[in-house]
């Protein structure tokens, strides 16, 4: 479904990703962990198509297509979704209007019939219940005046509504209390499906107690330096990222000697 090979990305002239490779299949949940500044959010933004991220080498294939060639809206229509680390407040744009415009724009590109307001609202109500979000949020402007937790839950609510094939969660757990964290995890788990893949970017292992990943990757200095199963997250929690750095140093020395 997603194949990233030797991806190099520069942001404002500085190389952030330095040869990242990752392969994902439908139905899988991959956690990306790593220290601050490792390039975790850069990965999410590059996959979603944000401007200002210069790909200097490497390829990203998604469902057989060159993902990097697509505009952000085309990626969305093709099933890519990024849950933002910092959801943007958009005053004056009504949340319901925005969501319906987004869903119908995607459906139109895919050649599916657009939903009328009754069909749309029915779908909205179903998804709201799962995220324990209040109806009232729908009448407000996009993310405006939402608490930190509401913003993150709203991201997951949008994901539930848009039903992407590849969902990237960029530190969706940051700033959440334990109850909100559980709601977010419930929302994600309810969507786990053999046809859908998730990239869960997180700093802490805590979220992975609730969203149990199939694979855990450690991203450090722009590359994936270690991959394993869910157990790797626990090891990291125990030993810290320094442990990986030391092991890689040892590995580097031996590689250099070879």
């Amino acid at each position: 479904m997603l194949k990233i090979e030797n991806l190099h990305v520069r942001v404002a002239g500085k190389e952030i990703l330095k040869g990242l490779s990752l392969t994902m299949n439908p139905g899988e949940v991959h956690a990306i962990m790593g220290p601050n500044g490792a390039g975790k959010s850069t990965l999410g933004n590059v996959l979603a198509g944000r401007e200002g991220y210069e790909v200097s080498a490497g390829t990203v294939k998604y469902a057989g297509a060159d993902l990097l060639e697509l505009a952000p809206e085309a990626r969305a229509a093709a099933g890519v979704f990024l849950a933002f680390q910092y959801p943007v407040e958009i005053p004056g744009v009504n949340n319901t209007y925005f969501l319906r415009a987004a869903l119908n724009a995607q459906r139109k590109v895919r050649g599916e019939p657009e939903l009328d307001s009754m069909q749309f609202l029915k779908r909205v109500r179903e998804k709201l219940a799962v995220l324990h979000l209040k109806d009232e949020l729908l009448h407000r402007a996009v993310n405006e005046g939402f608490s930190g937790g509401e913003k993150k839950r709203n991201e997951i609510f949008q994901m539930a509504l848009l039903e992407p094939k590849l969902a990237i969660l960029d530190e969706t757990d940051s700033g959440l209390d334990i109850d909100a964290l559980k709601m977010v995890a419930d929302g994600v788990n309810a969507m786990r499906d053999p046809a859908r893949a998730f990239v869960v970017i997180t700093h802490y292992q805590r979220l992975l107690d609730y969203i149990v990943p199939d694979f855990v990757h450690v991203l450090a200095d722009g590359r994936i330096v270690e991959s394993g199963d869910a157990g790797l997250a626990h090891k990291l929690e125990e030993h810290g990222y320094a442990w990986i750095a030391e092991r890689k140093l040892g590995h580097g020395v031996s590689a250099g000697a070879a």
Binding site: F84, I90, P91
Partner: protein, 380 residues
Amino acid sequence: MAAAALLEEFGPADARERDESWRYSRTALRALAQQEFVTADVHASVDAALRERFAWTQTDGRRAVFVNGVFSAAHSDLNAIAASVQLRHDAAGDDTEHRAHLAINGDCAEPLHLVYLGLPGAAPCRWSAVLDIAVTHGHARLIEHHLGAAGSDVLGALRSRMTIGAGATLHLTAICDLADSTSLYHRGDATLAEGASLLTTHVLLGGRLQRHDVGVALAGAHSRFDSRGVFALRGRQHADTHMDIRHVARDTACDVLWRGIADDRSRGIFHGAITVAKGADGADAQLSNRNLLLSALAEIDTQPALEIHADEVKAAHGATVGQLDERALFYLRSRGIDVAEARRMLVGAFAAVALDRVEQPWLRAHLGALLAPRVGTENA
């Protein structure tokens, strides 16, 4: 004609002050002044396409139409005008300044629609008119609707004096929907008595040069002025608004919120001056002006000016000129909304904030429809 002579005709003011206030529009004014204008034909015909732009079903029976400054009985429809509303007008002369008097002495639930048409002739032409509005009591509602038809140049000048009596309210929506060949000078001076309120919403679109001088004297205690406005310009359109609000009496309030959008090579100017006179304690003055540049060649100049001579005053003002928020644009696009639609949503939302004082949903819909094509930003 010299630009100064043209300005002189627009109304008396201190010459140096006036010169300074025209600083951003001087070039546009000089270009106008160099042109020859003949007196506009007050019997010019109104075609069906133009008529459609103002013949709103919601204002049928309450519409007064002025052709190049002169009241036109043929185009007006005043069958359902409220008993509390009286409109008088001087008979059309050839070259005099045309005067209309509007007296309102009671509530009017639905607005009276005053339509000023700037109609071109064979040669560039100009008109000049005066409108006096007196609201003695009750809640008056007015739409002042300036429309320009494309063709040779038309330069209109309207001076409007408003007096709002004790406890009375005037709700005024001013729409200036001008052609690129239309210029309009508009001076509106309002005096508010004790407890009076003036609520205005300006929607300024198009125009070779449109200049609005708005003077408001909060002369009575507890009087209040709420001003909302938005301009949306493109091509080489030019709109310049100067607001001069004077808190004279105690416990007066003003709340000014304007939005500006400029695309292509257009130019927008907003100058908001608020003066709190000595002794006008308890004044509350709020001014906010935010602007959006949609092209590297567009220009917006904004200047809030606050002058306070009283002691207990609450005042806040802010002005910004910026570009579309790239983060917001990416957020919308990442959800599947294409770039053109995402821009329309953001610019539309930016402008819509200035329509919050418009009471009638149908009027809001008309204004939204006028604004929608102006926020399309197809060049971006």
